[in-house]
C-alpha cells in the first residue's frame, strides 16, 4: 500500500457500489477473459486471490475438500497437480512460504467446502512464480487470477480495488474465524499485558491501519462507506530498508530477531536523558523518547551500541511514528476503534505491544488498538471473494 497520500475526493463519496464504482474496480480489459469463461453460477477451480504488495505477494488458495468422484475424474491433470503441489508443501521454491497456522479448515465458500491456504513470497520473485504457473500449464486452465495491490501492468491479471478488497477481507475473515480479532489488556503494564479476544461484531466506525511497505489509514463507516484518510511512506519497508543499511541484515525475520535482542534506549535519547526526569511543564514522562537516534550524535555512544540496539531503535521509531499519525487521524476523524493490519505486524509482537501502549497511554485510555490474526492477507482474501461474488 502506498504511503504518502491523502484521501481521494472521488473515493470519499464512494458510499454505495454503483456502476461507477465497479467501473473503477476494473483496471483493464482482461476482465472479459473471466466473463467469457464463467458461465456457471460459480467460477471454475482453481480459486485464487492475490495481493501484490511492494515487498510481498500474498496469495490465498481455496482447496475444495468436497470433490465428488465425478469431479475428480473431470479434473484435468495439471489442476490436480497444482492442488497437490500447494497443499502438500509448506515452502515453494526458495522464498515461497505457506503460513500453515493461519489455514482455515472446513470453510464453506459459494456452496463448496474446503480449506483456505495462505501463501506469501517476495514480490521480486513474482516472475519465478508466474513461470512456475506456466510450467505447470496454468494458462491452459479456464481461470482468472484475481489480484489486487500493485504489480507490473504487463501481467494479465484482473485487477481490483485494493482498499475495497482489504475491507471485504477483514469483514469476511472476522465473520468466519472466531477469535480473529484481539487486543492487549493492560497495555501499559508489561507484567500484566495479556492478549484477549475482541468480538468485532459491530465494528463501525473503525480506523483501519494497513502497515505494509508503506502505510494506509482508512476510516471505515460501513462495508461500502470508507475513505482513505492518509498514509505515510514510513512503514515496514522503511524498517527493513533502514535495518539492512544499519545492520547488514537481509530479511524481515533477521531484523525482528535482532530488534528483540536490542535495547533502543542506548540509541534513542529519552526525556530523562535531557531533563534528568520528567519534563513536567508539558507532562512528558522521563521514559518518553525525546529524540530518536539522539544518542548517536555522540561518537562514544556510537561506538558502544550494537547492531541489535540499532535494529530495535529503528523498529521503535517506525512503530511510534505510525502510532502518532494514527492517533492524530483517530482524533481528527473522531473514531475510537483502531484496527491494525498488514504484514509489518507478522510475528512482530514488539510493535503490536508498542502500538497498544501508545494508543492507550497518549489517549488516556480512549483509543483501543485491535489486531487481526491474518495480518497481511486480507487484501488477497478480498480479491478471492471478488472472484466468487462477481460470478
Amino acid at each position: 500500500m502506498p504511503g504518502l497520500c491523502r484521501s481521494d475526493p472521488n473515493n470519499e463519496g464512494a458510499a454505495a457500489p454503483g456502476p461507477s464504482s465497479s467501473e473503477r474496480r476494473t483496471f483493464n480489459s482482461t476482465a472479459r477473459l473471466r466473463t467469457d469463461s464463467v458461465k456457471k453460477s460459480r467460477p471454475l477451480f482453481p480459486w485464487f486471490g492475490m495481493d501484490i504488495g511492494g515487498t510481498l505477494v500474498k496469495l490465498v488458495y481455496f482447496e475444495p475438500k468436497d470433490i465428488t468422484a465425478e469431479e475428480e475424474q473431470e479434473e484435468v491433470e495439471n489442476l490436480k497437480s497444482i492442488r497437490r503441489y500447494l497443499t502438500l508443501n509448506t515452502a515453494y521454491g526458495k522464498t515461497g512460504i505457506r503460513d500453515v497456522h493461519l489455514e482455515l479448515k472446513d470453510l464453506t465458500l459459494c456452496g463448496r467446502t474446503g480449506n483456505l491456504h495462505f501463501i506469501r513470497f517476495p514480490t521480486q520473485d513474482l516472475p519465478v512464480f508466474l513461470q512456475m504457473g506456466r510450467d505447470k500449464h496454468f494458462s491452459s486452465l479456464h481461470t482468472t487470477l484475481c489480484a489486487t495491490g500493485g504489480g507490473p501492468t504487463s501481467l494479465k491479471l484482473h485487477k481490483l480495488d485494493e482498499l475495497e478488497c482489504l475491507i471485504r477481507g477483514v469483514l469476511y475473515i472476522d465473520s468466519v474465524m472466531p477469535r480473529e480479532c484481539y487486543y492487549f489488556e493492560n497495555p501499559t503494564d508489561p507484567d500484566h499485558c495479556v492478549e484477549r479476544p475482541y468480538p468485532l461484531e459491530n465494528p463501525y466506525p473503525m480506523l483501519l491501519v494497513n502497515i505494509g511497505s508503506g502505510v494506509s489509514i482508512l476510516a471505515v463507516y460501513s462495508e461500502n462507506n470508507y475513505k482513505r484518510v492518509t498514509g505515510t511512506s514510513l512503514g515496514g519497508g522503511t524498517f527493513l530498508g533502514l535495518c539492512c543499511l544499519l545492520t547488514g541484515c537481509s530479511s524481515f525475520e533477521d531484523a525482528l530477531e535482532m530488534a528483540s535482542e536490542g535495547e533502543s534506549t542506548r540509541v534513542d535519547k529519552l526525556v530523562r536523558d535531557i531533563y534528568g526526569g520528567d519534563y513536567e511543564r508539558f507532562g512528558l514522562p522521563g521514559w518518553a523518547v525525546a529524540s530518536s537516534f539522539g544518542n548517536m550524535m555522540s561518537k562514544e555512544k556510537r561506538e558502544t551500541v550494537s547492531k541489535a540496539d540499532l535494529a530495535r531503535a529503528t523498529l521503535v521509531t517506525i512503530t511510534n511514528n505510525i502510532g502518532s499519525i494514527t492517533r492524530m487521524c483517530a482524533l481528527n476523524e473522531n473514531i475510537e476503534r483502531v484496527v491494525f493490519v498488514g504484514n509489518f505486524l507478522r510475528v512482530n509482537t514488539l510493535s503490536m505491544k508498542l502500538l497498544a501502549y501508545a494508543m492507550d497511554y497518549w489517549s488516556k485510555g480512549q483509543l483501543k488498538a485491535l489486531f487481526l490474526r491474518h495480518e497481511g492477507y486480507f487484501g488477497a482474501v478480498g480479491a478471492l471473494l471478488e472472484l466468487l461474488h462477481s460470478s
Partner: protein, 752 residues
Amino acid sequence: MAECVGVDSSTSAHTMDKSIILPPDEIFRNLENAKRFAIDIGGSLTKLAYYSTVQHKVAKVRSFDHTAKEAHSDKLYEISVQEEVTARLHFIKFENTYIETCLDFIKDHLVNTETKVIKATGGGAHKFKDLIEKKLGLKVDKEDEMTCLIKGCNFVLRNIPHEAFVYTKHADSEFRFQTTHPDIFPYLLVNIGSGVSIVKVESEDKFERIGGSSIANLPTPALMFSYFGQRFDELLQLASKGQHTSVDMLVKDIYGGSYGSLGLTGDLIASSFGKSATADKEFPKEDMAKSLLHMISNDIGQLACLYAKLHNLSRVYFGGFFIRGHPVTMHTITYSINYFTKGEVQALFLRHEGYLGAIGAFLKGAEEDNPNQYRWVENYAGSSGLMSVSPDMNPMQRARSGTFDMLEMDRLERQLVKLPLLQDPSSYIPDTVDLTEDALAREYWLFCFEDALDGVVQRAVASQPDLPEAPERAEKFRQKYRHKLQTLRHQPFAYGSLTVRSLLDTREHCLNEFNFPDPYSKIKQRENDLALKYYLKAVKALEKLEWEDRQLALVSGVLAGNVFDWGAKAVSDVLESDPEFGFEEAKRQLEERPWLVDCYDQWFERLKGPPHRCALFFVDNSGVDIILGVIPFVRELLSRGTEVVLASNSGPALNDVTNVLTLDSFSYSFLLSSRLDKVLATLVRERKTDLVIIEGMGRAIHTNYYAMLSCESLKMAVIKNSWLADRLGGKLFSVVFKYEVPNRLHMIHSTL
C-alpha cells in the same frame, strides 16, 4: 515504551576546537560594554545573546536666534557632531566546537559589565554550566526551553520586518516575505531540533505543547553518523546531489504507474527506504541522504498538518536548526504541507529561526528593562543575513568567520506606529517594487548604489574635515557596503525583501557604523543658506500672481525644488558641475503639462472648495526643496485656514531635512506604516488631519505609491532617474502629481 515526544535539544560531545582565531572586528562586537547575557546551547550550535550600549556620533543642529541680532554668522544654524549612546542587541551563532574559545574571548574582552548572571536555555545549558561559570565567572540561570522559544518567536514576528517567508521552489522569487502583522496569534510553531515539538501559541503567555515526534533531524544525521560519520551540513550538501528514487519505493514501483482511484501519482513515495531492503546492493551516500531528508521532511509536514487541522490553525511556522534555510528541506516541507492540506495551511519559515531560544532567554533576563516597550530594528550593517553560513550557497562567505552567523538589533527610543490614515493598515506594503522578485530592477539598482559609492565616500570624508582618520573610516565603510551589495547580488533575500528602501537603509546603517552620521551636512548647510537668500524674492513673486496662476506656480515650485536632491545621481552631476544651477532653471527643466501623472486639474478644482482642516506634509530634501518649494506652498495652505504639520526624518538620509522642523517622522526611510512616531500619529488623530501630502521620489514613488489613504492625498515627485523614468513610461524629470480622494469622500464632494 511509547510514542515519541520529541524535545528539541540534545547535547553532543564535540571535541573542543581551540585553534581558531576569532576575528574581533566581525564577531562579538561591542563586547566591552555588554550589559546582559543569554545563551542557548543546542545539540550542535550555540547561540549567544548580549545587550550592549553603543556609542556613535550624531550630527546635531543648533539654530541661531536671528531675532536677537546675534548675527555673528550669516549661517542659519551650526552643525556639531556629538556622541550618542544607544542600545543594541547582538546575537551570535556558532558551532559548539568553538564554545571554549568563545568563552575565553568573551572573558578577555568583558570590561564594563555589572551583570552577575547569564540566562541559559537549550539542552546543552546543563552540560556546559560548569564551563560557563568557571570561564566567565557568571552564575548560570536556567530558563525553560519552550518558554524561551515562544517568547523569541513572538518577538521576531513582531519586530523584524520580513521575518517570515513562504518558500516556492519554482517561482521567480523563491522567497516570498510576509509583512509584519499586529495580529500574530494564533499560530502553530513546529520546532525541529533533535526531536520535534509542536506548540500551539494563542497569546503572548498562552501556549501549549500539543505534540511532537521524534522522527526528526537528529535521528537522521544521527543515523547517518552511525553509517558514515557525516556532519549535518555535509549531509544536507550530500542530499542536494542525491536521487532518492534509487532508495525509496515509489507508487509506480508497486503499481507500474499512478494509482488513479486514490489520486496517487506514480512519483509519490510509497515506502521510504523500501528499495534498500533488497540486501547486498550498495547505495550512493547522496541518494540515501536525499531519501532521509525526504522522509523526515514529509513526516514532519504530515504531523504538522494533522495538528493544524485538529486545532483549526492555518499558519504554521517552522523553527529550529533542522531547516536553516536549506532549500531542499524547505521545498519538501512546503510540498508536503500543501499536499496534505490541499493548500489550506501555509508553511512559513523564519529568517532567524535559529535565534528564537536565545532571544527568548535574553528577554527573560531583560524583563526588568522592559524590552517590550521599545521597538527593535534589525541593523543591516551588523547582521549576516539568511544563509550566510550555508556552505555551498554563499560564495561571499567570509573567510575567517564563515561559521559564525550574526544578528544585531538597534533599540529605538520611541514607539513606532502606523499612520492612522491608512485605508487598510494590515495590507499596506510600502515598497512599490520588490527587487527580490524583479531581477532587472534589482540589477539596475544594485549597479546604481555601487556606482554612487565613490561619491558617498568622498562626501563622508568631506563632512568631517577636522578628523584626520576620516578617510580610513570612509574606506572601511566602502568595503563594508560594497560587500553587502555583493552579498545581495548573490542572495537578494538575505535580509528579507530587497527594495530601494532597504538598500538605502543598509547604506545608512553602514555609514553610522563608521561614524558618519550625516555625510551631507556640509552641503545641506550651504544649500540652505543659498536658498534662504532667494526666499523673500520668490515669495514676493508668488504673491504678485493671480490666485489661479499662483496655485500652479506653487505646485511647480514644490516640484522644481524637488529636483534638488543629492541622492539622485543625475542631479548631483548637474549640481556638482554648476553650483549656480538655480531654482528658476530647475523649473524650466520640468516637464510641460500634461505631466506623466497629472491630477492637477482635480486638485485645482478641490482648492476652490472649502479649506482642509489639517494637512500632514511629509517633506523630502533640505535646501531649495523645502525653503523655496515647500514653505511657499505651506504658506498658501495656512492662508486658507488649514493647519499644517510638517514631518521629516529624524535621522539623515542623504540631504533629507533633519531637525529643521518641529516634528519627526522617524528615521532613514519613508514609511507610513510601522515606523512612524507615536507622537505624530496622535497629533494626526487630534487635529483631524484630512489631507496628506507626500513629496519626493523616495516617499511617493519607491514607496507609498500604491498606498491608499482614508483621506485626500497628494503625491508629488520629479523622476530624477532615467531608468525609473523609462520604467514608468516617462523621461528624465518627468513629473508625478497624483491627487487621490478615497471613494467615499469622492461621492460626498461630487454631491456637494
